[in-house]
Amino acid sequence: MSNIMVLDDVEDAGAMIKRILERKGHSVAVFTEEQDAIDYVKKQKADIAILDIKLKKMSGVEVLKQIRQARPEIEVLMLTGYPTLETAREAMSHGAREYLVKPIDKNELEEKIQVIVENRSSA
């Protein structure tokens, strides 16, 4: 099972993701502050990051760049309620693996995390 970091400026959204993924046996840490999340990843504590695109101080893509720079092997799933192809293209060009659009569907979230976990183990 994986260590997953969730960064969403709304605490409740992170809490909901945490509940879903912990039921699947993953270890999940939720953050609402960008810098806290980046520091957490830099300390080698996460295999997978789930990043909301809209955050308080930075954009999710900016956080993506920073954590991929510090930990190129980390897998990232972007999360957004207002998706655009431009943002998706940018996020993927910076190494985001998956894109999840709100409203969050429990099965869809589990499925996407499962795909990432399987890719990691076969890599």
């Binding site: 605490e11 909901m16 309620g81 998706p83 192809l85 409203p103 969050i104």
Partner: protein
């Protein structure tokens, strides 16, 4: 109890709690005001929203079916067309969602988020990366060149350049990045994408127009300065600045993943001054009608096949030829077709002067033409080069070469030779001599029968009937456009080594060439072609194809993208409106959203008149005498006065002309509403309705009709079948129409298609124009007299009643024709033509 706050934060709810309360109060007050003061206005307002739903629903289902059909049949179209259709679907679904939200903003606002989500996923699947426009723009031929940068032909020639066994002219390549830069600097990409979005299935007429517009724009465009500078420097470096040049196409994918044989143009004998004009001409040939069609038929996208251009010194050819390192039916033999001078006409399927063969085991020439332009030693050298190429690449090769004035052989191109296995060993002697109409040479294997269509003009390709045997003088690459609609191709001239031959073999189309007398065949004469023995035979000896050829690219890049996108467009998981999970949160695709909106729209339309004191607008239960549970809503003079005050009306209370005419068919003795129908459709209804007293719930399960004296909108449910009928029957013919649509139903996919085909055949017989896409059918009967419209409504009623359960019984296409005749005859008995 779910955590509403967390759900809202995660996008499960669209509004904050405060917004929800404010919205609820506003909606309640507005509804109360209208219901109390202006009930008629409320009806009209909601009816107008309902009409928008109805139109949007039909368009959305048609778009979904269209995309499904492209995938199921691997229809030839451009990715931009698919993206365009997906965009239209997104727009239609958005309109549907907003129309439903107009009924009740609080209740349905969440649907916006689900629509946004699945529309985005579909978009994401169809998205392509932006083309790379950074350097390098010009490269020398080098064994390390990649296909991504240099295109297929240049990459392969570069590879050969590193091998001393082969002579390849030196040269430069203007890279694919340069092509992308050229498009970007001239802002051509949006124009190209917009034009390509017009290339859907069956766009044979449009493709010429699209090609002309794009090619004109390319020819008017300016070559970027940085590209000009690098080309000039590169020519100087290679010592070619004062040399006559040859510019050849080298697109990505060309020669490697697909042959693209003859699809692009070359420019020979170009002076250094004319190089950039020639560059644009070669680049623009990527968008010729046949090149566009070929690319689409192989399932590549435009941006997957950027054009690189090779620049080489122009070598004046004494002899040109095409060498196959293996022969059809005889892998131990190689063959070569040759002409004196330039080989353009040979490759273009117009002529060849001589052919020779080489036995690879005995290492000797086995047949030498009398007018062979090469000495035997040189000819042997050509075959030996072919052997080395075959050994190097590991598969038989199709090699274009030239010999200069000193008989030095240069390789211009070497690509895998594509040949399919013959159907079975065969000889010309297998057929009686009397049946042979013409003898030719194999071009592409297979056997087919069909009616002759002689091609008079290359521009009239779109007029070739489906499954014709195309008879032509030569085999130019432009014939590529005819592939997919012809059963076979026969040419009086041409050679088996021309470019079109490669393309015909790739598309698995039977073809023969060099068949003297072929042009004397008569139009519509039925003939059979045996590609393997090169014969044109009298009569229909083989199975005639009944549709387009089997798709040979079901897993092409475009089809893979479409399949991915359809995961968010097509699946219908919301089936039963009575089920607990028939909800916004259970929507998993755009199709689910369309389905949800339709059901919820019907529910809203009926619920608004089923409560509190709106008796004059209340929906009624119709006791029609047939086992169809139906509610009717009279919006204007659809019922007689005495029917307006009672809860259950009978047909004698119905004044709506089209409704009466429909039921004249549905309730006619031609339709046997037997107990099995009752059991299948209505037992379930009775059980479910027993537990509901709520009008809204029960109408959700039943059929409904909105009535006017001259208008009817009906949703008819027969178990899992849904038919929508929208019609006007009035004294003015120009206002009259019947629009009927049907989708879905029980049974497997094959049974659904058969049922659609059955209804199609019957309705066409009665003058409807019918369109079908996958399992969606639409029928139109417009601008006819009130009497004719009425009679066809009655006929439609019979057809509907009789075909309700047929998909469970229809097993084979043969059943469809005979059943259609049977039903048509019976309908005629009641409502004669």
């Amino acid at each position: 109890m779910p955590d509403r706050c967390a759900e809202s934060a995660a996008g499960q709810h669209p509004l904050t709690r405060g917004q929800q309360i404010r919205c609820q109060i506003k909606h309640t007050l507005e509804n109360w005001f209208f219901k109390t003061c202006f009930p008629g206005l409320l009806i009209k307002k909601k009816y107008s929203a309902f009409q928008r739903l109805r139109h949007g629903d039909r368009s959305a289902l048609e778009l979904i079916s269209g995309l499904e059909e492209i995938r199921q049949k691997s229809l030839v179209c451009d990715l931009e067309y698919i993206r365009h259709q997906s965009g239209l679907l997104d727009k239609e679904v958005r309109t549907l969602v907003e129309s439903l939200i107009a009924f009740n903003p609080l209740k349905y606002a969440l649907l916006r988020n689900y629509h946004r989500k699945y529309a985005f996923y579909a978009d994401l699947c169809l998205m392509e990366d932006d083309p790379e426009t950074g350097p390098p723009y010009v490269l020398g031929l080098d064994p390390e060149l990649s296909e991504d940068l240099a295109g297929g032909k240049a990459a392969e020639l570069s590879f050969l350049l590193g091998n001393n066994d082969f002579s390849v002219p030196p040269g430069l390549v203007i890279t694919t990045r340069a092509f992308n830069l050229f498009l970007k600097k001239n802002r051509l990409l949006p124009v190209i994408r917009q034009q390509l979005s017009r290339l859907g299935p069956d766009s044979h007429d449009t493709i010429h127009n699209v090609s002309r517009i794009i090619q004109n724009r390319l020819m008017e465009a300016q070559t970027p300065n940085e590209l000009k500078e690098q080309v000039t420097a590169g020519l100087h470096q290679k010592g070619l600045e004062n040399t006559e040049l040859a510019l050849r196409s080298s697109a990505v994918g060309e020669d490697l993943q697909a042959s693209f044989a003859g699809q692009f143009e070359s420019r020979l004998g170009v002076s250094p001054d004319g190089i950039f004009q020639a560059y644009k001409e070669v680049a623009a040939s990527k968008y010729s009608p046949h090149a566009l069609y070929y690319r689409m038929s192989r399932g590549f996208t435009d941006s997957m096949t950027p054009m690189a251009v090779l620049i080489m010194p122009f070598i004046r050819a004494k002899t040109s030829g095409i060498l196959y390192t293996a022969e059809h039916n005889s892998p131990d033999r190689a063959s070569v077709h040759m002409v004196s001078g330039s080989g353009e006409k040979l490759a273009a399927g117009a002529k060849y002067q001589a052919a020779s063969r080489f036995d690879k085991k005995r290492r000797e020439l086995v047949q030498d033409s009398h007018d062979c332009p090469l000495e035997p030693d040189t000819l042997t050298t050509v075959f030996e080069i072919g052997e080395k190429l075959e050994e190097l690449f590991g598969v038989p090769q199709d090699v274009e070469w030239i010999a200069d004035g000193k008989d030095r052989i240069y390789i211009l191109q070497s690509r895998p030779l594509r040949m399919s296995e013959p159907e079975k060993p065969c000889r010309q002697e297998d057929y009686p001599e009397s049946s042979v109409l013409a003898r030719g040479q194999w071009v592409s294997t297979g056997r087919a029968s069909g009616k002759v269509h002689k091609l008079k003009d290359i521009k009239s390709i779109s007029q070739i009937p489906q499954n014709a045997v195309l008879v032509t003088d030569e085999l130019p690459p432009a014939l590529t456009l005819a592939l997919g609609r012809v059963a076979a191709v026969v040419a009086e001239k041409g050679s088996p080594a021309c470019h079109f031959a490669s393309v015909a073999r790739e598309s698995k189309t039977t073809a023969i060439c060099s068949a003297p007398g072929a042009m004397s065949l008569q139009d519509n004469q039925i003939v059979s072609i045996d590609g393997d023995s090169g014969l044109v035979l009298d009569g229909a000896l083989f199975d005639t194809r009944t549709g387009p050829p089997e798709p040979d690219q079901p897993d092409s890049p475009v089809m893979k993208k479409l399949s991915e996108a359809l995961r968010f467009i097509s699946p219908l998981s919301l089936q039963d409106p009575e089920a607990d999970d028939f909800s916004i949160r259970s929507c998993k695709s755009l199709h689910d959203i369309v389905r949800y909106v339709h059901e919820a729209g019907v529910g809203e339309m009926f619920s608004l008149v089923g409560r509190r004191g709106l008796d004059s607008y209340m929906s009624k239960r119709l006791d029609s005498g047939i086992p169809l549970v139906m509610h009717v809503l009279d919006v204007h003079s659809g019922l007689i006065s005495s029917g307006k005050s009672i809860k259950t009306v009978k047909m004698e209370h119905v004044k709506s002309r089209p409704m009466r005419q429909l039921f004249a068919g549905l309730a006619s003795p031609a339709v046997q509403w037997d107990s099995s129908v009752l059991h299948y459709d209505w037992d379930a209804y009775s059980k479910s309705s027993a537990s509901f007293v709520d009008v809204e719930k029960s109408t959700l399960f039943s059929s409904y009709a909105i009535l006017d004296r001259e208008y009817l909108h009906a949703l008819l449910r027969f178990g899992y079948h849904f038919a929508v009928l929208d019609t006007v029957a009035c004294p003015r013919p120009e206002h009259n129409y019947i629009h009927f649509s049907f989708k879905g139903g029980g049974g497997n996919q094959q049974q659904k298609f058969l049922r659609i085909e059955l209804i199609n055949l019957i309705l066409e017989h009665f003058g409807f124009s019918v369109r079908t896409t996958a399992d969606f059918l639409e029928a139109f009967f417009d601008r006819k007299s009130m009497e004719d419209t009425g009679v066809n409504l009655s006929r439609l009623g019979i057809v509907l009643g009789k075909t309700v359960l047929l998909d469970m019984r229809l097993e084979t296409p043969q059943q469809v024709g005979s059943l259609a005749e049977e039903i048509t005859e019976e309908v005629n008995g009641f409502f004669p033509v």
